[in-house]
């Protein structure tokens, strides 16, 4: 039974790769595209990233901005069939492992590491440790809220953190901070998405079209070297309580897919396959694929090339290139 | 002009007997003074007359009819403390009784109806000597003035029975004398039946037409649980020390009449 709707809600939270949503909403771009398809899209900003995903998972929102890992672990595991509509960027240095007074990654062994547990930071730490042949058992993880990370760094108790921008930039500005590992060393593994409820998207493809249309129009402005582009970037910086320079520094460590074609290419690539396999193994090891899950295969992940990772009868996360493709065609 | 009949009344609290075998016939327009040691159940007795407490056994009839199950407007009361509403002015404290009757929904009168009720209340207050203090709150009144207010508040409902629980205990002798005068005047005018608890024997003999003493006949520690207090003395004050109306019958007392008990009470605590 198809459910036609005309009103939709998108939840987004403050992060370098998602700031365009706020700007697009403020500048009427979202409304323009929604009007074009005769629908209404409510763009709601969350302070708390996790709460935005929870709200989406509970059904209060039709779309949300999230990382690949959290999309799999929360809505998909929670039975909400979800489609990654837009692959916006991947973290290319935005997430980092930082040590105080020490400069080698191996110095982290035996330390307490402050990070947001079960987040992409946790994943990054696991990958970093893997890279030197160690595992999570060799450190002590202390769950620390992202809002307090900078303040925590400033206390003598804390000697190692894993976190993301803009917090990385803030911490690196203090005298004793040394970046010992960052996401540029695992390129393409921490992906920032705009995801949509699959059923809603299936019943209302125009919602997907409006979102991609608005997104890539914004991308085009943001990427341009014009005064308008600079103004947009400055506004996005301000909205995340930093300035143009700060925001551009964050962008530098983010691989943005400004053109839809780039997104399509990334989604179609085989590396996404490998990344998601690594991610689901990490989640399984931490018991996040559902309690009593017999293997990492319980939840199926479908890719644009038709391949499926895990249970084919229980596909809950789908990567699609269709809408980005449509936008790429329209843009030509 | 209301007769009260108390028939073999018992009251227990959690199996502890407080009052037992209390029987009493009260003639209309009596002024009953209740005395007795602390804790013997005088207040409990009044509360039962008010229906604020249910007897364990026995019954109370007012003009031959069973008491209703809860307090009603035909039995007024003045307590020693907390007898007036602290959040209402003197005038409002008296007015509210009229408003309850006339305005079931809001409990408040407006316009002409209010002016009329106000006049009646102000008249009653003037009668108890509070005519000049209508706008004050109880906390701004002295103890004596508060008790006069409580009396006015009770009397505006023209109760058939008025119950007073140590109403004048906290007052100094001058004010107390004034209130005694007032009380007797109102009692005579409204012809109601009054029950008054007091610790002051001289007050009891001065005001009462009949003095009733409660006490525990068995009072050894091991008996306290099992046996309660009852009426141990019942003295009619006759002839009355103030004029009574022609149509009044002498209030019934069961023991020896005291000639001059009212005029020359034994001074409390004088015996050394």
């Amino acid at each position: 039974s198809a459910e036609k709707k005309t009103e939709f809600k998108l939840a987004w939270s403050i992060y370098v790769g998602w700031m365009p949503w706020g700007w697009a909403a403020d500048h009427g771009i979202v409304k323009k595209w929604a009007d074009k398809y005769g629908i209404k899209i409510d763009v709601v900003q969350f302070n708390d990233y996790i709460e935005s995903i929870n709200q989406y998972t509970a059904g209060a929102y039709d779309a949300v901005t999230a990382t690949n890992m959290d999309t799999l672990a929360i809505p998909a595991v929670g039975g909400v069939d979800t489609t990654a509509l837009i692959v916006g960027d991947f973290s290319n240095g935005n997430d980092a492992v930082i040590l105080k007074d020490k400069s080698k990654l191996s110095d982290i062994i035996g330390q307490k590491v402050n990070l947001v547990e079960l987040s992409v930071s946790h994943y990054l730490l696991a990958r970093a440790l893997e890279s030197i042949g160690k595992s999570e058992k060799d450190v002590t993880v202390v769950n620390t809220s992202d809002a307090d990370m900078v303040a925590a760094w400033n206390t003598p108790d804390v000697s190692a953190v894993v976190t993301w921008n803009p917090l990385v930039a803030e911490i690196m500005a203090t005298p004793k901070a040394h970046k010992v590992f960052d996401s540029s060393q695992i390129p393409g593994e921490i992906i920032d998405l705009t995801v949509v409820n699959t059923k809603t998207l299936h019943d209302n493809p125009n919602f997907g079209r409006a979102l991609t249309g608005a997104w890539y129009e914004t991308m085009a402005i943001m990427a341009s070297d014009t005064p308008e582009g600079k103004e947009a970037r400055e506004a996005m910086g301000k909205a995340s309580e930093t300035d143009l320079a700060g925001y551009e520094m964050q962008l530098a460590s983010t691989k943005m897919f400004y053109q839809p074609a780039q997104g399509v290419e990334f989604a179609m690539s085989g590396s996404l396959h490998k990344t998601m396999d690594s991610v689901r193994k990490f989640l399984f090891a931490h018991g996040l694929l559902g309690q009593g899950a017999p293997s990492a295969d319980v939840v199926g992940i479908a890719f644009p090339d038709g391949k499926v990772l895990g249970d084919k009868n229980n596909v809950k996360l789908r990567f699609t290139a269709a809408f980005m493709n449509e936008a790429a065609q329209a843009g030509k | 002009m209301t007769a009260v009949s108390v028939q073999n009344l018992w009251k227990e609290y959690d199996g502890r007997v407080v009052l037992e075998h209390v029987s009493l016939e009260v003639a209309p327009h009596s002024f009953i003074a209740l005395v007795g040691p602390s804790g013997c159940g005088k207040s409990t007795f009044l509360r039962m007359l008010l229906s604020a407490e249910t007897p364990t056994r026995g019954q109370i009839l007012v003009d031959g009819e069973q008491l209703p199950g809860e307090p009603t407007a035909d039995r007024g009361v003045v307590f020693q403390r907390y007898s007036v509403f602290p959040h209402l002015t003197v005038l409002e404290n008296v007015l509210i009784g009229l408003e309850f009757a006339a305005s079931p929904l809001l409990g408040k009168l407006f316009g002409k109806a209010r002016r009329k009720a106000r006049e009646e209340a102000a008249g009653m207050l003037a009668a108890v000597g509070l005519g000049d203090f209508l706008a004050l709150y109880p906390s701004q009144l002295s103890g004596g003035m508060q008790q006069r207010l409580a009396i006015a508040q009770a009397l505006i409902k023209r109760p058939r029975v008025l119950l007073l629980d140590e109403p004048f205990g906290a007052l100094d002798p001058g004010i107390r004398a004034e209130i005694h005068v007032l009380m007797l005047k109102l009692w005579r005018e409204t012809r109601m039946t009054v029950f008054m608890v007091t610790h002051d024997l001289s007050e009891a003999f001065h005001l009462g037409t009949r003095v009733i003493a409660f006490d525990r006949p068995r009072n050894r520690p091991e008996e306290r649980e099992r046996y309660g207090a009852t009426i141990t003395h019942d003295l009619a004050i006759w002839p009355p020390k103030y004029p009574v109306a022609d149509n009044e019958t002498p209030p019934g007392g069961t023991t020896r009449p005291l000639d001059d008990a009212g005029a020359q009470p034994g001074r409390p605590g004088a015996g050394q």
Binding site: I14, V44, Q45, F46, N47, D48, E51, S52, N54, Q55, A58, A60, D146, A147, D148, V150, A151, N154, L167, E170, A173, T174, P175, K238, A239, E241, T242 | L50, A52, E70, P71, T72, A73, R75, G76, V77, F79, R81, Y82, S83, V84, F85, P86, H87, L88, I96, G97, F100, P104, L105, L106, G107, K108, Y137, P138, S139, Q140, Q153, A154, K157
Partner: protein
């Protein structure tokens, strides 16, 4: 004359000086800490110099934000106060009415007293996700969190206060012929209003706490939102004046309520003095 300490009263001047003392000490401690940290790292953000705090405050309070054109402090204040007052108003009315009903009517008491005792023990922060799902994320949710956070406190207090009304007052009202409705309307409610203000004042602290917690999760303006956002950057030059501002607002609210009580219920304040 030698006196016991409990009988030794400072003179007016000494008293003024003494009451300023702890504030001065805190100020000095801050200054010392700030200088020490700034000497090590001139860019230290944790304990900024007073000049930075002043600049931060004036930026928030007097300059229009470039992006939105709003002067942020006032926008934040308006948003937060609206939520806080709405929450307080709803909680007060709910707890007042329900508390009076439960305190007054035996049937209500039987039904609700156990339930309220249990519900009051649930820490609202632990059921945040459920609250957000039920109330959405708009203004409703924020107001709801405040309401849910403080209603049980006020409610329990109200029930106690109603039950504390002297038995004599209730009996008296009945001897004046009042019905249950009339007793509630004319005897109990008016006597509870000033006590409700007391209870409200006691719960102000918790209300601010919940406001800040709610604004930290989803919102685009508000004092708690701003503090939360700036906390990531450790922008203490703005956070500290914001905290001072919140403290001032809380203090004024408390003072205003006390004043209201004294004005509107003179009988209550006088009665209390005599006790």
């Amino acid at each position: 004359m030698h006196r016991r300490l409990i009988n030794a009263y400072p003179s007016r001047g000494a008293s003024l000086l003494l009451s300023a003392l702890p504030f001065l000490l805190i100020l000095l401690a801050y200054l010392a800490g700030s200088e020490a940290r700034l000497a090590v790292n001139p860019n230290d953000k944790l304990l900024p110099a007073f000049s930075s705090i002043g600049a931060g405050f004036s930026r928030m309070a007097f300059e229009a934000d470039k992006r939105t054109g709003d002067v942020l402090l006032w926008v934040d204040t308006a948003a937060s106060l609206a939520r806080l007052l709405a929450g307080l108003a709803i909680a007060t009315v709910t707890a007042g009415l329900l508390g009076i009903a439960v305190g007054l009517l035996p049937y209500m008491r039987s039904t609700f007293s156990g339930f309220i005792a249990v519900v009051a023990m649930i820490p609202p922060l632990s059921v945040l996700p459920i609250l957000f799902i039920i109330f959405g994320l708009g203004e409703t949710a924020k107001v709801a969190l405040i309401v849910i956070g403080i209603t049980p406190m006020i409610l329990r207090d109200m029930i106690l206060r109603v039950e504390e009304l002297p038995r004599e007052i209730m009996v008296k009202a009945q001897t004046l012929g009042a019905s249950t409705w009339q007793i509630a309307l004319r005897v109990v409610v008016p006597q509870m209003l000033p006590r409700l203000i007391d209870s409200l004042r006691l719960s102000l602290g918790a209300a601010w706490l919940f406001l800040i917690a709610a604004e930290a999760i989803a919102s685009q303006s508000g004092l708690g939102y701003r503090i939360f956002l700036l906390r990531r950057y450790l922008a203490m030059d703005v956070i500290l004046p914001y905290v001072a501002w919140i403290t001032l607002l809380a203090f004024l609210l408390d003072y205003g309520l006390r004043l209201l009580q004294a004005r509107a219920f003179p009988w209550f304040v006088e009665g209390r003095k005599q006790r």
